[in-house]
Subunit: 434 residues, 2 copies
């Protein structure tokens, strides 16, 4: 979900070379001001005038060009693409390609290939304790598309949507396109705070949470908060989007069940993506939607894109059904767990007194907190000048400025690279924090 | 673009078995009523309440499940999938799959793979006389996605958009999602009428035309109308979407240049799809956008889907660059041209006095006009009961009821099937038109 930011970094958004320290602040994805009516005449842009929504679509927080710069420590949200089982994938592609048949070349089902939806439903049953019907699984090209569909189907101008603050900018930006009010809720080390009580007002329609691994602070939402969130949704007749972008990579503690698995009232839309679990350019993601929304989502997909390209859906359905997916996840969980361990040890050795790194239990990245008065954007820029990528926590701000900190990706680098990177970071931080 | 309708037919939308003659009329894609403010509270749907836009997204004119019924004469907009060069495609897939590299597995460029965009730009230069930069080509998953992006970027609630009446329902439906006023303009055998003058009012923002092969009446827009349309766009500061879904299959007359090739003022967005030219489940389409809109489109793609899956883009770029695409088009143009000829001869032999079929010059389908007082929906239903698929012209109505007629696809059927189908249709029409 988040690996876009390393591209921002790579493109100089976060690592300006000459006093461009405010670049990021200027381009922070503004939450739409939620006008009563989204019809403000926009300024002409070249010859064409963009719509109110168009002006906001034209200000994506994502980079539109691929980062051409090579991967550097500690670019965040990077799966290790060298560890992907390309030989197996190639065999499956070959098999699917050979079997190409005119019957498979016409229009498919809007919600996606049955075999893939079935494979995902089967996988979720044991990995997330989600019990759902095949029909509830909607195949999409990306998590962004899922967020966009949820927003368009559920949000009217003036409605309210709760998001985590700090939180994932790609979500709040897309919600803002509808003219809805995007309300940032405070986050601590256990995810979105539900105490004091979440606001129950008639305009509440949606909440967006990364319950299994809060982005960016890394917290896991405990059961009490999950239940409080579900009760809030019942009270408001609202829907919860549970964005699970990397919880499969949980190294420590008991495996978690999804918030969706607690959902008695059809309140939760569960969202998963293969960008981190497999590779980003595959462009496959999915939603598990409540029964009452299946038809609406299928229709919306049909109208706005017809359906996702078939071939890669076929390959992925075989990859899951034949056990390669589960095996790959086990392998990567071990690999990333080892790297998390190496990263933490290196931080203890080199970053004592400079930053504090809470224990890493899940995912591809660590959160490192800076001394209270540090400016994390400046620190990230300075590190960038030293060849080290770091994403400032302030990048995830919705409204409230978070504690200064850095998001550091360890997952795509081997032990030597991690140790060397942390040592270099220690030296750079020594200089800049003194 | 249109081959969805045969699925509607296949699913019984057009061929109800028992007195369901009004089914289509009821499910005709309503043009949104263009409220001043799209915030009408919708009725609860199950537990979740959909937004104003959501209610319209949930009423897609496309079927959400693939037609399971076998292909029958004369299902419209069907490329002949048995004639696709699967062996060459397979070889290219194999080559791309073998070359999979971690560098190609990360996030790509929002607007699409450079090599594919270049290949398309090169192709358009000779096939459509469109001269554009690679950067202006935006790769998408479908024409529907292209229409949706254009609508969201350019239309505010209350803006006006001109569409052809009769015309493609997938376009008017998507435009209506924005709350814009969708205004149907009369169409004759030369496409959208520009005389008397097109309406020039301050709210005009967009026009949608199928200039090369009007959908559904089949007309080719002459140069005078093209220039009038461009002048209208200049006068209104509006944009024209030129939807070219099958003009590569022009059997007779001089090859046409695109409306876009006349565009001096950056007024035209040209849209192409590979659904008819190659096969629908590939899910690749593109826009050529004016320079002034390149950044806005790339950003909008990035925000709403990041980018299209890479693998099939690679395969297609090789398919075009190595000449297979041009060769395939030549082959199919001959094949479809022969079938059009056979179809016309069969109509002369069997349908004299029942329907009139204007000469077929382009595309996959013919328009057959019924006697003035016939009800084309009833006729299509009766034919459906006889195992013959036909799509009524009234299905394409925006506001004005068109002359009664049928859209009949000849492209996916060999000579014997066409002759047998037309003969059977003649018998059925004899009975129902007497």
């Amino acid at each position: 979900m988040l690996s876009v930011y390393e591209q921002l970094a790579a493109e100089g958004y976060l690592a300006g070379t000459t006093g461009s320290g405010t670049t990021v602040a200027c381009t922070l994805p503004a939450v739409a001001p939620a006008p009563e009516q989204p019809a403000t005449a926009a300024e002409p842009r070249g010859q064409q005038r963009l719509s109110w929504q168009g002006e906001r679509l034209a200000a994506s927080p994502f980079p539109v060009f691929e980062a051409a710069t090579p991967l550097r420590t500690f670019r965040a949200n990077q799966p290790d693409l060298h560890a992907f089982p390309v030989a197996i994938w190639h065999k499956l592609q070959l098999r699917c390609s050979k079997a190409t048949d005119p019957k498979a070349m016409g229009y498919g089902e809007a919600a996606g290939l049955r075999s893939l939806r079935q494979a995902i439903a089967d996988h979720l049953r044991y990995s997330q304790r989600i019990v759902c019907r095949t029909e509830q699984v909607m195949i999409l090209g990306s998590a962004q598309q899922g967020l966009d569909l949820c927003a368009r189907l559920l949000l009217d101008p003036g409605d309210s949507v709760l998001v985590e603050d700090p939180g994932y900018p790609g979500a709040s930006h897309v919600f803002g396109l509808t003219g809805a009010k995007v309300i940032g809720m405070p986050v601590d080390h256990y995810g979105m705070k539900t105490e004091p009580a979440l606001p129950v007002t008639p305009d509440m329609r949606l909440a967006y949470v990364t319950a299994a691994h809060q982005s960016p602070l890394g917290g896991v939402m405990p059961i009490e908060r999950r239940l409080a969130l579900l009760a809030w949704a019942e009270a408001c007749n609202a829907t919860i989007i549970e964005d699970d972008y990397d919880s499969e990579y949980r190294f420590k503690g008991t495996p978690l069940s999804a918030l969706k698995s607690l959902d008695q009232g059809e309140r939760v839309i569960y969202m998963g993506t293969f960008s981190k679990l497999l590779y980003p350019s595959l462009r496959l993601a999915y939603l598990v939607v409540p029964d009452g929304l299946v038809d609406a989502f299928a229709s919306a997909i049909s109208l706005t894109c017809r359906h996702v390209s078939r071939f890669q859906q076929e390959v992925l359905s075989l990859f899951i059904a034949e056990g390669h997916f589960a095996r790959h996840l086990r392998h990567m969980r071990l690999l990333y767990g080892e790297r998390a361990e190496i990263f933490q040890q290196a931080c203890q050795a080199h970053l004592q007194g400079l930053v504090s790194v809470p224990p890493i239990t899940t995912g591809l990245d660590a959160t490192a907190f800076l001394p209270e008065r540090a400016n994390d954007l400046e620190v990230a820029n300075l590190l960038g000048n030293q060849g080290i990528e770091a994403r400032p926590l302030s990048f995830y701000r919705v409204k409230q400025m978070p504690a200064p900190g850095l998001v550091l990706g360890f997952s795509a680098f081997d032990g030597d690279a991690i140790r060397a990177g942390v040592a270099a970071m220690g030296q750079a931080l020594e200089r800049c924090l003194k």
